[in-house]
């Protein structure tokens, strides 16, 4: 009786899981299916999820018309630049705030946290003007710089520095390490796992960023994938099939990348949310 109940529970769980999996993937499956369809008609009844006469002509059209590789390269540059900046600046800035004693420390920390409580939206326009005045309009640096230092990042790293036992650093000082060596040899290696959490947050943010690059970049050969695709969606409006092929070409590398790094995503949030 008990065993039977357990089996039913098992089967039920998997049915729910499969239904949910379909719920989360069917728009993409539809896109994939459409991308292989010929010009006849996309719709037949019942809908053809696996095209009877698959064709790759849409993909050929995409490569002829859209600089896909260029978009990817742009995203790669913007994302890696952004992640490196965020991780380095947050790791550095958080250290003196967490582990060193100096005058004005609390004041500076409170000042840093202040904008987190006041979510100010004026930044969009003002930063646009600033970027133009700095001569960074239509540059990768212009896309990355305004979010190179995040309060969230500093806060996250500070929490992790705080969890280091002071004895470790003191022991290093007694052993003759100077303050730089204490940071570089003791403290920083101990918070290194947290930097991967921060890197993941930063990666997701830059990868998904849309509005800011849309505003700051004006030449299409600098567009990251998200902006490039969005521009296409309007120009290819009547032609689902070609746009679908473009979407598939963008999705595949992301999914492959995610498949190999997903462990870090879930572990990363563990390190970030509550400690």
């Amino acid at each position: 009786m008990r065993k039977k109940r357990k089996i039913i529970k098992y089967v039920l769980t998997y049915i729910i899981l499969i239904a949910l999996a379909l719920f989360f993937t069917f728009p993409f499956l539809w896109v994939i299916s459409t991308s292989f369809k010929g010009p006849e008609n996309i719709f037949t009844w019942p809908p053809e999820w696996i095209p009877k006469k698959p064709t790759i002509e849409n993909y050929i059209a995409v490569f002829k018309k859209i600089p896909m590789a260029k978009y990817f390269l742009n995203t790669l540059i913007i994302t890696s630049l952004g992640v490196v900046f965020q991780v380095i600046f947050a790791s550095l800035a958080a250290y003196p705030l967490a582990r060193l004693n100096w005058k004005g420390k609390n004041l500076v920390f409170k000042l840093i946290l202040l904008p987190m409580l006041i979510p100010m939206q004026g930044a969009l326009i003002v930063n646009f003007i600033t970027i133009i005045k700095l001569g960074l309009y239509n540059t990768y640096l212009g896309v990355v710089l305004p979010s190179a230092v995040t309060i969230f990042g500093i806060f996250l790293m500070r929490q992790h520095y705080l969890s280091i036992p002071a004895e470790l650093e003191d022991a290093a000082r007694i052993d003759g390490c100077n303050e730089f060596q204490v940071f570089w040899k003791i403290s920083f290696p101990l918070v290194r796992p947290a930097t991967s959490a921060l890197a993941i947050f930063a990666f997701t943010a830059y990868w998904n960023s849309f509005l800011w690059p849309l505003i700051v970049l004006n030449s299409p050969d600098k567009y990251p994938v998200q902006v490039g695709l969005a521009q296409l969606s309007s120009s290819f409006e009547p032609n689902f099939r070609i746009a679908s092929a473009a979407i598939v070409l963008v999705m595949v590398p992301i999914l492959v990348f995610f498949y190999f790094t997903q462990r870090f995503f879930i572990e990363g949030y563990k390190g970030a949310v509550v400690k």
Partner: protein, 291 residues
Amino acid sequence: MKSRKMQVYFIVFLFLGIPLLLLGIFTYYPIIRGVFLSFTKYNMLLGTAKWVGFENYKALFKDKYFYTALQNIMKYLIVVPFIQFFSILLAILVNQKIPGIKFFRTLFYVPVITGSVIVSMAWKWIFNVDGLLNYTLLNLGLIKEPILWLTDSHLAIYSAMFVTFWRGLGYYMVIYLAGLQNIPSDVYEAAKIDGANSKQILFKITLPLLRPTMLFCFIISTLAALKVFEEIYLLTQGASGTATMMYLIYDYAFVRYKFGISAAASVIFSFILLIFTIINFKFFGLGGEKR
């Protein structure tokens, strides 16, 4: 000893210098400058600002889209409790140790990792007049005429909300999953020894211990709902009564080049965000985020 103190101050300046400079330029300065801009007429070509008093605010209050945008972001808040409720359920579901669970977690996360642009484009072709949804409903005989999911001004905003909901579930699921896995297993074991059933464990242990995660998620999800932009931009271009505050701010500044009015909208919007952040903190208690 003196040299050690010097070293400390040297590190303070070295490590904090550039980050504080960048924060100053791109985070603090815009707060002050943004308020100032909202009282001026800004000339993009010359880079000059002329003081116009409350003109921008007056223009904004006369714009009916401003009220539409305010209404829409309030409507959008409905997404928050739904997204949180279902993502907690999802997290509990995928926190089981059964074969293949990692594969399912990955699938549920696919909408997050593909990004808002791809998601919005895919859903646009489902919601379109001649899209998959209407086509299916028509052929099943459930409707007689196609439903204007994206162009009917009563419906369009809800279609966009659904896409936001669908896209956000996986994101919060992973954060809650991390929160669940951070709960030490001996807490559960102790409860089981004391004879607690699974319902009691859920309501007396799991959910209370998840509170700090919930605060975090409610805050970011509330702000994200109020700030929604991508779905609107890509699904409807702000038409059919779907403009949100972020869309309005974008539209004024970068389509119509009225920076002053856009800045005024930003100032008002910032106050709205501030109010909701305070409400969230009050509701979940400030104690929740102290560790």
